[in-house]
Amino acid sequence: MAADDMTLSEMTPQGRRRRFYAAAGLVVALPLALAVHSWETARDWWQDRDLFEQSVGTGESVTYGGAEWRLVAFTKLATRADGSALVLAEFDAVVTNQAAFEQLPCNMALTDSAGRRWLPASLPSSDIREKRPIAAVKSTCGSAKLDKPKAGTELQIAEGFRLPWIEFERARVTLSLPSQRPHYLVFNPR
């Protein structure tokens, strides 16, 4: 009778022990192989998600992603016939850590209580000049990062959005930067 055809009761104690260790090894090796192969995917997923919200009150400053951020203005510039409003969010940011700050991208958005998100939009410069002329020369978050400002640099940032005008009063501004994710900031403009 070949060894492969033996039942467990017919095997020697050494043979049984060998089979037990082989089976026990599989219990360890399979999850380990799975963990090793999926580690990078799991890490990327974790670092690409906004999972932990940090609320920032009106006028408050908060250190996040290599800078100290403060929302200084949240303005409805104009409304349009399709029911949309052109909105400008303005920030003051003081760079505290250049390496952390210059990491791209800069994810800024407006959100409502239902989780809907409006991403930055390019607004007509005539609307900005008319209502917020001071903001016409401000950089967007992405372009400010591309300049690679050194620690201590004071930045003035403005991002435009287009959302239903009825949502303007309820909208909050979110800021999510790669060096801090999955943590992100939620500014309440009111």
Binding site: D4, D82, G83, R116, R117, P164
Partner: protein, 186 residues
């Protein structure tokens, strides 16, 4: 090796061979998820909604945009689809529109009008703000009946929605349709 073992191994090999032969490819596993409907119906995909409001056929287009006027002829027929679209959860853009004929041949939207202002693929869709736009396609006449319009966020976004719209019976083709950017969303 006993007869029982041989039979078990043969059966296992046959099952594995069957699994290997019938395994779907990566493109099949991750293909877009179809959302089907008809013209006039508001169809909801994962990220946006679409409602086809009107479709017309013409042998040529007279296009006026950016201070220029030109005639666009075609060896097939122009299909102009008017539609309304809106983002559901976040700002998105629709960049893929095509026509799948009755034999399965797919025709992408014409690039000859890629800068026309009312093109739906040139617009950002925002949640809560409905946008009107157009799709322009050039199609051989024999591929019209029984075909469907396909709208998606991109040419291939795995497991994303693809809206499939049956336009029903299309009106007869006219000689020429005029498109003016100032009146068509420009």
């Amino acid at each position: 090796m006993s007869l029982r073992t041989i039979v078990a191994l043969t059966a296992a090999a046959a099952v594995l061979y069957g699994l290997q032969q019938t395994r779907p490819g990566y493109a099949d596993i991750t293909r877009p998820l179809a959302v089907t409907g008809v013209a006039g119906e508001r169809l909801s995909g994962r990220e946006f909604t679409v409602q086809v409001t009107n479709a017309r056929l013409a042998k040529r287009l007279q296009v006026t945009a950016y201070g220029q006027s030109r005639i666009l002829t075609t060896s097939g027929v122009w299909l102009i689809v008017n539609l309304k679209a809106e983002a559901r959860n976040k700002t998105v853009a629709i960049t893929a529109a095509s026509w799948r004929g009755p034999t399965g041949i797919q025709f992408d939207a014409s690039q000859r009008l890629s800068t026309f202002p009312s093109l739906i693929s040139g617009q950002r869709l925002e949640p809560g703000i409905e946008k009107s736009g157009q799709v322009f396609l050039e199609i051989p006449p024999d591929q019209l009946d029984g075909g469907v319009l396909l709208i998606a966020r991109g040419p291939f976004i795995p497991l994303d929605s693809e809206i499939t719209v049956d336009l029903g019976s299309l009106p007869a083709s006219v000689e020429e349709i005029s498109l003016d950017a100032r009146r068509n969303g420009g």
